[in-house]
Each structure stands twice: as C-alpha cells, then as structure tokens.
Symmetry: C2
Subunit: 527 residues, 2 copies
C-alpha cells in the first residue's frame, strides 16, 4: 500500500481544498491579465516515475522489507516539496527527481544504519519529514550517485519524555506538528509552535530548517526552544544539550539547527514546553500606514509587553484581506494596515497584557477593531496554502518569499522587494506582513500573485533571482524561516561569505565525507 | 614604557587591594588548618622571562614599531590569566610561558595582517583582551612554534556606531567593560553586561568566552546580545549578522561565540543595547533552605516576572556572608539562604515588577529582608576577586568553579560537586550560588577555600579534575560562563563527544590551517 499523506500535487488534505468564489477568480484573472485556461493537474495514476535503481534491496535488512517502498505512488509523493515551482512541475507530471526508494526507519539506530549503508554504496539520502519545504530542500543534486533514497521519518513519532520540573520534552523527529502538540497537551503542556505548515510539517523539519511559528512573539522561534538534540550520521552520533546555556565552546546545537539534512539526520530534539494556556484571545488593530504600524509593533518588541501573536499586514494585504482569509473577497475599503494581536495565558494574565498592549498601541495611533479581525485570522491561519492551489487552478501563480532585517533597515528592504517584483512581474499584486518581531528587527513575509503565463517556471525563476539579489543588496537575510534548500543556495553563499561557506563545508566533509546527505542543499561547493 | 594594566600578580587595581580583618584571617586559618606562613609574591622587577625569540622584528612593519613590545614587564603582564593556579605560579615568579612579544594592532586590518604574518612564520598567537581568563585561555600549548605573540586588542577601543532605531551598537573588541558602558551611557544606552570581571574584561573576551553577567536575568547572556560580529583570520574575514534572526543555515555567530581565539580574532561585535534605566533597586529575600530558594527562583524563571538581577546563595555562602562582601565577618547566625533581587527600569516598571516578584516569593515562603542586603551585594559585586588575593596572602587557596544544568538535575549536580570537593579537600569550605536562571535550568557557581598546603597546585589540580569528572558524571556542562581554555579541554572533549570535536576541529583546520590560533585552547586533537 502506498504511503498517503498530503495531496501529492498541492497542499494538505484534499478533502479540505478551498474553492475560490467565482467573483474573486474573475477579479484576479482580470486584474492580473490571466488569459489562457490553465492546465489542470495530470492524474496521479498516469504519472510514471523513472525506473527505480536497485537500492531497495540494499536497505531491506536494515529496516525490514516492509519499510522500504518502491511503489510509484509512494515515490511520487516523496518527489518534491511544496514551493509553487514544485507544484507546477508535479502538476505537469514531472517526477524526474523521484527517489529510487522511500525508506522508513523506526529508530535512531536504524537511521544511523541506513546512513552507514548508503554511505557505503554512495546512495544520496534526502531526509523527509513533512515534505513541506518551499525552498527546494527535497530536491538535492544527485547526479553521480548510485541511487537516491527518501528517508521518511514518520515512524519516529514518540514523545520520549516530559521533564515537568525543567519544562522540557524530548520529541522524536518524525512527529508532525499536531501529533506533537496532542501528546504534549495530554500532559498539560504546549510547544506553542504553529507555523503555517503546522498541520503537516515535522519536529525534525522545524529544527533542520529553523522554523518560526505564528506565535513566535510569545513562544519564540523553534531554534530558541531547542535545548538539546541528537544527530545521526553515517559515522556516529552527535548529542548535545547538557544545560539550557553553556560556555563550553561554540553552541553545537546552533550548528545542527538549520543544517537542512546536509550534515546528518536529526532524530530527536529536547524542547522547552509551557503549561497549556487557559485561554486565547485575538484582536485587530488598524494603523494609518505601514510605517505607523511598524513603529507600533517595534515599540512592543523593544519595550513590551509582547502579545503571543503579533502580525501587521501592509496596505495591500489588508485591502485584499489575505490577513483574514475567511473573508477573502469581502469589501475592505477603509484602507490602512491591519495588525492582529493574539494572547495566550491565564485569564488574568491575558487581560493585563491586553490592557498594556492597548495603551501602547492607542498612544501610537492604533485604532482598536475588536476581536473579530483577530479571530478571523486565527480561524484561517493554516488555510492560505490551500488557496494557492485554487489560484493555480485558475491560472494564477501565487508564491511567498521572506526575509528579515534590522528595524532601521526594514523600509529599505520592503521597498527593494516590492520595486523589484513590480519591475520583474508586470501585472502582479504583492502583499506583505511583518509576523516575527525581535528587539533589534523583524521579518517581512511577501505574497506575490501574478498570471502564470506561458512559461511560469522561467518567469518566476527570473523574478525570484532578481528579488533575492535585491534582498541581499538591501542588507537583508535570504531567509527568515523558509530556509536555504537548493533554491537559495547561491544567495546563501553570498550571505555567509567565503569563510562562512568554507567553515560549513569543512564540517560537512568531516561528518558526511561521502557527501550523501542532501547533496547540493544548503552548502555550496567552495571556490 | 611597559603596558601597565591590572595587578600583574593578582586582581585588578593594586590601589584597591582588599585587606582582610585579622579576625577573619585568624578564623579561616584555624578553620582550614593553615599552618605555614605563605609565600608572598616575588618582586616584579626581579622576574626574568625567558629570552625573547626574534619575532618582534617580523611584526614591526605591520603595526608600527611602537606597537610591538618586548620589555620584560609587558611580557610578564601578558603571561597568564587570573585563575588561582595562574596567580600562584606568577606570584612565585614562574613566567616560563611568557610571550616573546606583545603586539598591539590598531584596526581589524592590522589584526588580519598580524595573523597572516604569524601564519607565514608559524608563530603562535594568543588573543589578549582583558587578560581575565580563569580557565587557562591565555596559556596555549606552544611547543614547536617559532615564537609566541600576545595580541593585545586594547587599541581597538571605539564605539563604531549606535543604531537607535534597532537598538544595537557596534563595539570594537578591545573595549573594556567600563569603557564600553561609558560610551553607551553617553548616548543614553546601556549594554547591561556586568560579569564579575566587568571592570577589566573586554568586549571581545565576553564574546569569545560566552560571558554571562550578573544582570543576565534582565539583559541576557552576552551571546544572546550579539546580533553580528567580525572575525579576522589569517586567510580572510568572516562577517555575520544581516538580521537579528535568520533561517539561512546554521547560525555562524554561534560558531564564533565561544571559540576562545582558536578560530580567529573577533574584532568587533554588534550587540543589543537598552535605554539607560531610570532607576535601580535591590532587595534581599531569605529562604529556609536551598531547595525552597531554588523552587522560588525557578518559579520566577518559568512564569515570571524576572528581576534584572537574581541570585540565590546556599546556606554556607549565606552564613559566611560572601554574598555580602562588605559585611564579611559580621555575624549572620540566622541560617537559611539569601537571595538578592535587583531591578532596572523606570520607577513605575520597577515598582510594578517588585510587587509581582514579592507576591511570588512570599507565596513560596520567602521572607523579605529589605533593601540593605541587596544594596550590600551591589556595592561589593566586583570585589570578590580582590578578596582572593588577600586570602592567598594569608595562605588560603580560594578558587571558583561553575556549571549549569536543567532544573530537575540541579540538586544532583550541587551534591556531586560538594561531595567531591569534601572528599578531595579535607578542611575546606565550599559555598555556592545560583546566579543565572533560564526557563529550563540554571547555573551553579561554587567558591572553594582551603589551605594552600605544601603543594597547592598539585592539590588543586587533583581536586579540580575530580570535580570536573563529577560535573560531567552528574549531567552538567563543564562551564556555564568561564569557558574551556586549556584547563577544561579534556572534559569539553567528553561533553562535545567525538563528532562534536571533529566538527570543530574541521572548522579550525579550515580557518586556521597553520594552527597558530591559541593552540591547545578549547579544541582537542582528534582521536
């Protein structure tokens, strides 16, 4: 039986696919100049991946024959991530990069044994958690290898332990967001990590790609939650985390976090947990301009108090209503920039924090919009990726990209991205929100919609390259929470600089001397 | 003219040397069984370092002749750090490890050029900030090198810039704590980093050794403050920090922080700064036992609010009064464990936070002791190292060591250290405080006093090895904020594990292929 998980050609649960109101589709097609009827996805059963090279037989004794899959459907379902180019390719039936086999180890030891076996036979390994990469993290460069296996971690799905005194939990890497959250909730705790990919992405993926969740203002980024982790390599295990903080050398946790499967496979992480909050509250605030809104969220980030969720949409995103997906298409003519604040905690804490946030935001010309806009956002918080599929069906290319920078540089970064996209993509709409704030800066998250046109992949690749250049030229980072993958690698090399790349390459050469781990992902060659 | 800085044979400013009341000295000598009159330091002028190898001539054209020093006094003053074994050796006139020259570069470029020249001639380089290492960070293993230079960074003493919007400042590495703080204060900001070594240690040293200050509860550890840094190597410069947080690969900042001069020389850091607080307040709390006190500070660390300073002394430290150095020797017969809370902020904030802390601590059986014990601690906060010199003069060996762990493991760690020291050092007094708290755990900082005896170095080395074993066996980290140096290296290798060491060694081999950077410090050889 094939491994069925999320939609092979789009996002999430096919049962939950969003349909767009015809009025919206028509408006968008008109606005963006969509002409041709778009191609609908080919049928899964009709897709034929390339003949599998004989790698499965090399791994059956390691994990058990039933845990090595070579059926077409399972291979197709492990072929790519979920970037828009990934979707466009797979909708067209392009599965040239399908792995030769999908392997499902059941323990850290089995992961290590699979890696050792693959190293011996020069088989490339693609660690596969939720399969939600949007930066090409699942499409390594595998020319010259004897084969490619996707290492699906879903069987590593245990809550290993909860330390209620230290408020930490050890979670296996293959746990999906909701699974992990449910197991912790049963013990009275929450991880508080809710990225947009929450429903499908995995704990190991959160760690490997430095995920940031929608409640990062309250619970922190995933890399800030991790106090220990275990990395399996073909040549041994790296275990970190004797203490929340230490001065014993460089922080090796931070070398593994963000390593995107290029150094080894994270098999478990120990993370901070928090008591399950008594209550949640959401509310909306309106600011006259993005600049006023940014000043306000910066005040909260620097002087407090911080809500648990804090996000600010720019004028376009506010107008289009993507900030409130369940009201998409409804009229929102008032202008301005909508901010959503969310609060987790006891009723008393929430009330007190809300009152203080209110005082800060009112003093900075924020206009309280009541709870409805916040609750609307909370209801739709995981829905946006479904909308993308509906847009693709309508001939519209929708994609996201993101960066982060220091507060003093944020408007320059914002302008650089928007100007570049406007220049590259005629007839496009670009929306943005600030959704992760720090004392020294914030992230910018852009959504772009444009007509697919004749050559959507080439058109987008060209625009994406230009906007990536623009981000670096304007002083931003190439990714705040999507990661590097293959797609951002060249810009990452520029960001890390030759010595940074050399340092990482040296670590990779030492931990993965055969170079089998996600080759071409993250770490560029030297020179 | 020689470079004069702190006392060559002890701590700090000789003018501020503390004398111990005779009653205390007598009591201690009696208690610890000190018999022989201790040796007093030899005279500086009588110390003769080994003949300097001819390295100065190789560097004069790089930094200017006047910035290469080879006079005996300057060499002696750059010979060692400030651990008690360092002091015992140098008080006895042992300067076998004196550098051949002391070089004072004036810019990042000059640092890089010095490193390149040293790499070319296989001259070992010891980066020298404040010279306050207590873990052998300034006594690398230099056998086989053509020479050894101490790279004194004091000329890199500029505040490069302040970004008031992002609340960050770029500070050169050679700035001492008070210099940096003064420059920031003039702009209306504070760094908020006040380790016990504050008055002498340098910004670069704080970064290189992952310093944690006494106000870490409010301002964070130094490694948490750093949003960017520049590392000079013999083969290029590594620059990090386009954004406070990023998902662009592993965090390279965290690879350089804690690298203790073994990868290159940190020449500047960009750090978070905060508005200069309107007011400071301190107060004391008494708990019936260490366990009750730990429960209380854990409650503040996990559920808040946190004071700016939070420290808890165990029964012995409370009794002896080291927590209140300016009252040392005064009677404190009430028993229990003293906690000090400090608060920085506006008057309104401080009042509010104090009231909340008070509610938490009273609910957990803390007894408020008024402001005096807190203010006493604040007055004496930088004095303890001076006391050590007075104790050495009195034939008493005083040394500190520290670790950190998870809350659930803290009492095991505490017991392991105390039992081991009691076993190793008959007639000793061991005191401890918790001075850095995190949601998941805390640090333990121990002060040991014992008779110097006949062979103080051997006696201490034996005890220190046993207690380091005990720390690792009990699950702790070998250092929370002192660092690794040469002294902790073997235990660090055990803590990092073979793969962790291999990864760091690979980075070092790549960034420092000639192996000239602080050889033997931090990074063990492989195998």
């Amino acid at each position: 039986m094939p491994i069925v998980d999320m939609s092979w050609s789009g996002w999430g649960d096919p049962e939950r696919a969003e349909r767009l109101p015809e009025s919206v589709t028509d408006l968008l097609r008109e606005l963006l100049g969509v002409r041709a009827e778009p191609a609908q996805p080919v049928k899964l059963a009709e897709i034929e991946p390339p003949a599998a090279r004989p790698v499965a037989g090399l791994l059956a004794d390691v994990v058990g024959e039933e845990h090595v899959r070579t059926d077409d459907e399972t291979r197709v379902r492990h072929t790519r991530g979920k970037s828009t180019p990934d979707l466009i390719r797979i909708r067209a039936g392009d599965v040239r990069t399908a792995p030769d086999a999908v392997v499902l180890p059941g323990s850290h030891e089995e992961v290590a044994a699979v890696l050792a076996r693959c190293a011996e036979h020069r088989i490339a390994v693609v660690p596969f958690g939720g399969g939600t990469s949007v930066v090409g993290g699942l499409t390594p460069e595998t020319a010259g290898f004897a084969g490619v296996v996707a290492l699906d971690l879903r069987r590593l799905d245990r809550l290993v332990g909860v330390d209620t005194v230290s408020r930490t939990a050890t979670l296996q890497a293959g746990l999906r967001g909701p699974q992990a959250e449910r197991l912790l909730n049963e013990e009275g705790y929450t991880l508080g990590h809710f990225p947009q990919s929450f429903e499908w992405a995995s704990i190991g993926g959160f760690a490997a790609a430095r995920s940031a969740g929608q409640a990062s203002a309250g619970y922190g980024r995933f890399d800030e939650m991790v106090v220990g982790l275990t990395l399996a390599t073909a040549h041994g295990t790296l275990t970190t985390g004797r203490s929340p903080k230490s001065a014993a050398g460089p922080d090796l946790r931070q070398l593994v976090l963000g390593s995107e499967g290029a150094l080894g496979v994270i098999t478990d992480v120990t993370v901070r947990i928090r008591p399950l909050p008594e209550t949640h509250a959401y509310e909306g605030w309106l600011f006259g301009s993005l600049s006023e809104g940014v000043t306000a969220v910066r005040a909260l980030a620097q002087d407090g108090p911080l809500p648990t969720v804090l996000r600010l949409s720019d004028e376009t995103e506010t107008m289009i209503g993507l900030a409130r997906p369940d009201e998409l298409g409804e009229r929102n003519g008032g202008g301005g920039c909508l901010a959503v604040c969310g609060y987790d905690g006891t009723a008393v804490e929430v009330a007190e924090r809300r009152a203080k946030v209110r005082a800060v935001l009112e003093a900075l010309d924020g206009r309280y919009q009541g709870e409805e806009p916040g609750e609307s956002w909370a209801r739709g918080r995981f829905a946006a990726p479904y909308l993308r599929d509906a847009l693709l069906d309508a001939g519209v290319l929708a994609e996201t990209l993101e960066t982060a920078g220091f507060w003093s540089n944020l408007s320059r970064l914002y302008d650089a991205v928007r100007l570049t996209l406007a220049h590259e993509l005629s007839s496009s709409v670009v929306m943005c929100h600030v959704s992760h704030v720090y004392p020294a800066g914030a992230s910018l998250y852009f959504t772009v919609v444009t007509a697919q046109g004749e050559e959507p992949l080439e058109r987008w690749a060209h625009a994406k390259a230009a906007v990536s250049d623009a981000i670096l030229d304007a002083g931003g980072t190439i990714s705040h929470h999507h990661g590097v993958g293959v797609d951002h690698r060249d810009w990452y090399a520029r960001e890390a600089g030759p010595l940074g790349v050399a340092a990482l390459r040296a670590v990779k050469d030492r931990l993965d001397p055969e170079g089998i781990m996600n080759p071409g992902v993250l770490i560029p060659g030297e020179g």
